[in-house]
Subunit: 246 residues, 2 copies
Amino acid sequence: MSDDAGMSTGEVDEGRQAWLRTVAADVARLDRSSSAERAADILRRSITEGALPPGAQLSEVELTEVLEVSRNTLREAFRLLTHEGLLVYKLHRGVFVPELDEHDVVDLYRLRRVLEVDVVRGLAERDPELPADRLEPLQDDVEAAEAAALADRWAAVGTANMRFHQHLIGLADSARMDAMTGRLLAELRLLFHVIATPRELHEPYIGRNRGLFELLEARKYDQAAADLNQYLLDSERGLLDAFRSR
Amino acid sequence: MSDDAGMSTGEVDEGRQAWLRTVAADVARLDRSSSAERAADILRRSITEGALPPGAQLSEVELTEVLEVSRNTLREAFRLLTHEGLLVYKLHRGVFVPELDEHDVVDLYRLRRVLEVDVVRGLAERDPELPADRLEPLQDDVEAAEAAALADRWAAVGTANMRFHQHLIGLADSARMDAMTGRLLAELRLLFHVIATPRELHEPYIGRNRGLFELLEARKYDQAAADLNQYLLDSERGLLDAFRSR
DNA sequence: GCGTAGAGATTGTTCAACAATCCTGCAAGA
DNA sequence: TCTTGCAGGATTGTTGAACAATCTCTACGC
């Protein structure tokens, strides 16, 4: 609120502006904690990790006891997760973990392709203004996936792959794209649980993520976009095959 | 649920299937009527029509009396609108009509371009399976906009233009694209209210919508996609200019 | 076997109350 | 004059109980 008028140099002012932004980000993160959102966090983990399988009903009275929140607060948590696509409401019947089918696979992957390929392609135009360290989160995710694979922890490989794509979208600096991608990937997780062997699902993409990362690092954005497109087509095909031979 | 096994001709069976679908749609529409969603409908109109300006706070006790619902139900209505981007929550401070700025204009239009252009381009591949009457809603919207312009009702022109783009996305048969577009356009409405003269904002696009429609009708999808891209760039520029000279 | 009525369970909605937090105004101190 | 700290009031966050509306399931009669 209070614009400091006594600054002597523009440089100091600039630094202070940057610091103010980081503080604002911290405050926003602290503000995120309400009972309903904490309950939603717990449920979100249970769903994405498969503890609550697709089709399962979430009883209100049961969960109020487990989560130690009131029914009203629990229902607000349900609403939050409904908006993320992780729960569906059936009027007067309750909330359920949605059961996605092949049509949803096609729908989700169509959107993923559109968004992710566009982001990579858009990087070419704004390459100069893009700091080198913006790619670091991607590198971390690639290495996390490789490490998890060596340890035979395929669920962890899956989440690392997810984070890779979330960070990829993050390069666009679009708050709305980030939110959409979050929802899309959450729904994708629901689909993964119908697959018996997570290894076959995730293993091929560890190396492809690294390849993609190196193309980005080398600033070969057009080839990266083409690779990513084929990557997502292959991934979609794999999921569809798994569905049909289920 | 009950598959009728005694049908003699496929034609009758088909007719009944169609009827079942319309009934299902009606039921779904009736199901939509919960107190929270009715309250949300009223608030949505108030916001998109500008009765509640950006930055305004929505008091809980005040609105419970006006809308005649309990605080809990009202809060559920708030959640619904929050998800659509028409309201923002600030913990312990209340809900507000968001104040969008130029950065949001750029963000929203980037997504619009990505989605809409991709939809049009994608039509080329599935042209054969696309029934001719799929374009009828678009034609209706174009004519509605033209009629409203003649009657000097520029707000109605704006909503008709919105519906045109919503129906355009609808051609992709993607439930998630539809939902995203609904949110994007709702947020866009918020931006329109900072513009003093809605006529200048909407008038140029009546004719361009018709041009786009005719290109689609003629199945010139590539040119339609190119036109649409430029269309959206121009529209974005117009909004940004209006912002700066505000 | 089939349709139906009714009991029990679950969700939808409201209300009243209390706790936690924020905003406002004012006074004390540098 | 400006900042700091502290009430007091107002608003939101959360809870628990209550009742209405709806669904599900079982038992009954045909």
